[in-house]
Amino acid sequence: MPESLISARGLTKKYGDFTAVDAIDFDVAKGESFGLLGPNGAGKSTTMRIIAATSQRSSGTISILGRDPEEHGPQIRAHLGVVPQQDNLDGELTVSENLFIYGRYFGLSKKFIRNKIEELLDFAQLQDKRDAKVEALSGGMKRRLTIARALVSEPDILMLDEPTTGLDPQARHILWDRLFRLKETGVTLVITTHFMDEAEQLCDRLVVMDKGKIMAEGSPLELIKQYSTKEVLEVRFGSDRNKEVAPILREMCSRIEELPDRILMYVEDGEALLEAITAKKLHPTTSLVRRSSLEDVFLRLTGRSLIE
């Protein structure tokens, strides 16, 4: 068993009567990239704030770097890098000023920070923006800067709350690439996302959260193996006929999901099933065979799509 940097048992957070995080258990090992995957309101950010030692739990236990955040908040925060869901950079200051000031909050020497800034600007590909006001940056640049800022103190754990939400595909890929590099240097990552492809790309292991609870846990591959089939056949008959043919399709495989616009059929061999359907003269308007994804896992666990 590798050294566990974060360990939560029965972790619960209530806002008044409302339970945002409901008795969850998880462990994060050193060097691991751990994900919290779930839809809006699942309790991901709330969990992140508790790990970040800024929000207090209502009950349960949590230990971060071997310490209780209730008693050792500053000591824990000294070793964390936090990338919040919403950027909270200082728009009036420049890129390098933002990095500098944040470094000071950790009590780092001016000399150390100045050297570090060069490294971080390279890492975030913001060298030519160093003296630009943050207000003038694009969303992707701001996100990279927020990540760079979180790294100024050389944290043991980097916490990323929805690192790529709101970014275009290109900006997302640049960010993923940066995060891969970090992982290679041995930084432990804790990532929340509601993008299954992001979870598959970045996470060694993840928990699927919904309504404050953990529904399942494992590596992306394990989860898919456990909760879905190898392949998925997606068929569309047009919204009127979908309902009509669904009962027939249900007979043909062990599990189907009817979505508003299409029907998902879970099988080991999608092409074979499609042939069987065609043989019955049920001609779908479109069809697609694909590998199972975490989206299918989520649908199986909750009966809902990840992204509404």
């Binding site: 500053p74 000294a78 909050y105 009590g107 103190s153």
Partner: protein, 270 residues
């Protein structure tokens, strides 16, 4: 893989780091801050020195001002009002930025620094702005021969202290408010404006109808103004009133800090 973070050092100096950041932010506005600090007294000097002052002195002599030139009478009052205005700017806006507009406090709070240190750091930043404003103001008054250097040594620190008490309260109150935009309108129109009008700046509070005087009594500006007059040109105040003015400002400072510490901790722990 460690940059050798010394948490004990942050425990000791966290507020200074926050103040450092506040001053860096203010430097982005240095032009405006300087223009206000120098333009404001210039404007009053001209208006009062050659306008209102002449009018007042011609019509009522120096009887209404307790035997001093009108400009001498209002100089410490204008100093106090400039100091408190500066304190207001640097106590109110950063708190709104910090919690709502750009959520900067949440960023600071994710470092080893804790909420109480943010409060103190923002306060020190406000004091830095007040010191700059007060020194500029008074230097100009000295340059124009309105006051003398020897009159300066007590009035300056006392005025800065009064502005600090005001800053602490404004920080506490601003942190307590959820709807900032509405709050700003109410604060400006209903509290700041009357405070500046009914604090004995341009004429002694005692010449106002008695039912309006309580506005002055609760206003930190009135207490600051009375103290400023006492410490600059020797305006006579009883020992009791001297004690009242200081106590009022001290209590204000303590309540302001207590409230700010509580609200900052609450909001940042959400």
């Amino acid at each position: 893989m460690n940059s050798g973070i010394d948490v004990a050092k942050v425990r000791a100096r966290g507020a200074a780091y926050v103040a450092e950041a506040r001053i860096a932010q203010m430097m982005k506005w240095k032009g405006i801050i300087a223009i206000v600090a120098i333009g404001n007294p210039l404007f009053y000097l001209v208006a009062i020195g050659i306008g209102i002052g002449v009018l007042v002195n011609e019509n009522s002599g120096t009887s209404g001002t307790g035997g001093v030139e009108y400009i001498t009478f209002i100089a410490p009052a204008l100093l106090a009002s400039a100091a408190l205005t500066g304190a207001l700017d640097e106590a109110m806006f950063p708190v709104m930025e910090g919690f709502k507009w750009r959520k900067l406090f949440y960023a600071i709070n994710s470092t080893p620094i804790n909420p109480g240190q943010i409060v103190l750091g923002v306060f020190i930043g406000a004091i830095a702005r007040v010191v700059f404003t007060v020194v500029c103001y008074w230097a100009l008054l000295i340059a124009f021969g309105v006051v003398t250097v020897s009159q300066s040594w007590d009035v300056i620190p006392v005025t800065i202290f009064a502005a600090g008490a005001f800053a602490a309260v404004i920080m506490g109150v601003t942190a307590s408010v959820k709807n900032e935009d509405y709050f700003m309108t109410v604060l400006n129109r209903m509290i700041i404006m009357p405070m500046f009008l009914f604090s004995g700046t341009f004429f002694p509070l005692s010449t106002m109808p008695i039912f309006l005087q309580p506005i002055g009594w609760i206003s930190p500006l009135w207490h600051a103004t009375e103290l400023g007059r006492y410490f600059s040109y020797g305006y006579s105040i009883s020992g009791i009133m001297l004690l009242v003015h200081f106590s009022y400002l001290i209590v204000m400072m303590i309540i302001g800090f207590k409230l700010a510490n509580k609200k900052f901790a609450e909001r940042l722990a959400k």
